[in-house]
Symmetry: C2
Subunit: 245 residues, 2 copies
DNA sequence: TATTTTCATTTGTCTGACATTTAATGTTTG
DNA sequence: CAAACATTAAATGTCAGACAAATGAAAATA
């Protein structure tokens, strides 16, 4: 573990960086134990509280976990896809809402990325993923389903489609785009006719995926893209008319 | 600001969550000032250090910034694309290295996503972005360029391509895939013949983007995909042969 | 009025203490 | 001898109080 230059600014950040670097560089294996807080405070020549703040930062990024007790301490944590997912999704959602990304932009991004997955998904999808897609389609057809549940199911459907590509990197990057759009989708009121249309497009996609027909999946996705865009624009227009300001 | 349930576990995490929720929900505007640490410690009925740990977590996620002095305090921060980018890239890189994602998977994801961008980029690219692409191509042709610089330039080229889609959501999601692959790309030794081939493919892409020819851009990207994959597999094979372990 | 000084407020850091958790160690007991 | 129980040591978690440093605003002064 390296020492710290006697710089002025933000001690905890410097210490966190030093530790993070030594984790990233591979000096420390997964589940390796860091020196205790007291030891670290001696090494870096700062107080224990300062070290603790640094460790808290790393914990917030899921880089370490801490454990109490005799054999406890801070341990290097394997960054799991699950943790990274969760983080990625909240950040993406926040980014969209705080920067007021419009519906069109988010929609375009989402479907462009999904269409990138579709050919791979048509090639590799497991029966399991196909079954999930079918189940969600069935759920979407249920009468009396709330708009929110419909959106949830929509996300689940598309997630299964993306996971069908069997590429965790793709799934990870796409999760951000798909899930972050949900708040925007939730603004839409889906009429029965809207839902029928979406369900039929979903069915066409599932059929295409089932028969490994990449081009048909792409065509259906293209239609779904423009249809969703249309619905979104109507919803945004209605919203704008209601609250003119 | 809500109070905390008297649960046992991890006070700072609970407090951080409470504050984060009230930021995300939109109760607090950007640049709004949170109560001082002392006030928060009274509201939540914990010590100041506990509040500080919670605030540090939020700061690590770029949700707040702190300022010293009379009118200082913790302020809600607008999550900028730049901050989110940086975070996204380091997380993606870490995820790939810690979970030993193989070259093929990363490569497939990257180019699948890029091909999703290409049609949009062909439609919208600015002269500026095109100029960047040309400049990087020129740089890649320079004799005596190190492999690392060549990779850097490669990333810059593809970044310009992606940015050409003029969709910040796409740029954001793609940055993770493109940049995270760089460590893997850096393992490749590029011969002169390799570079010539790549430069010529880059030129074809730039030409297609310039003339708004989406299909030609896609074709060139497809070729680049398989060529990169080939190079990567050779490099991995060579590496495996060298260190059989 | 313009400049300087003072001051109150807030975060940053340090110190020391005690609480809590946990595994290892020691001790007792059947 | 072995199992159950008690003790202990080490580590993180939390608290309280102090002082340092920064910083803007108010007050004093030229």
């Amino acid at each position: 573990m390296k020492i710290d230059p006697k710089s002025k600014a933000d001690l905890p950040a410097q210490i966190a960086k030093a530790i993070r670097d030594s984790i990233i560089s591979g000096d420390m294996d997964v589940d390796a134990r860091l020196p205790s807080e007291t030891e670290l405070s001696e090494q870096f020549d700062v107080s224990r509280s300062t070290v603790r703040e640094a460790l808290k930062r790393l914990a917030a990024q899921n880089l370490i976990r801490t454990q109490r007790g005799a054999t406890g301490g801070a341990f290097v944590r394997r960054l799991s896809y699950q943790d990274a997912y969760a983080n990625h999704i909240t950040t993406s959602t926040l980014l969209l809402s705080m920067n007021a990304v419009d519906f069109e932009t988010a929609c375009e991004a989402r479907f462009a990325l999904e269409r990138a997955c579709a050919p791979l998904s048509a090639k590799r999808r497991t029966p399991d993923q196909l079954a999930t897609m079918r189940a969600e389609i069935h759920r979407q057809g249920q009468p009396g389903l709330s708009d929110e549940s419909f959106c949830d199911s929509d996300v689940a459907f598309h997630r299964a489609l993306v996971d069908g590509a069997e590429n965790p990197v793709l799934s990870y990057q796409l999760a951000g785009a798909v899930e972050a759009m949900q708040p925007l989708m939730n603004m839409i009121t889906f009429t029965q006719r809207n839902r029928d249309m979406i369900v039929s497009l979903h069915s066409r996609i599932a059929d295409a995926i089932e028969t490994h027909a990449a081009d048909q999946a792409d065509a259906a996705l293209a239609e779904l893209t423009s249809y969703t865009l249309e619905l979104g624009q109507q919803a945004m227009a209605a919203r704008a008319a209601k609250a003119p300001e």
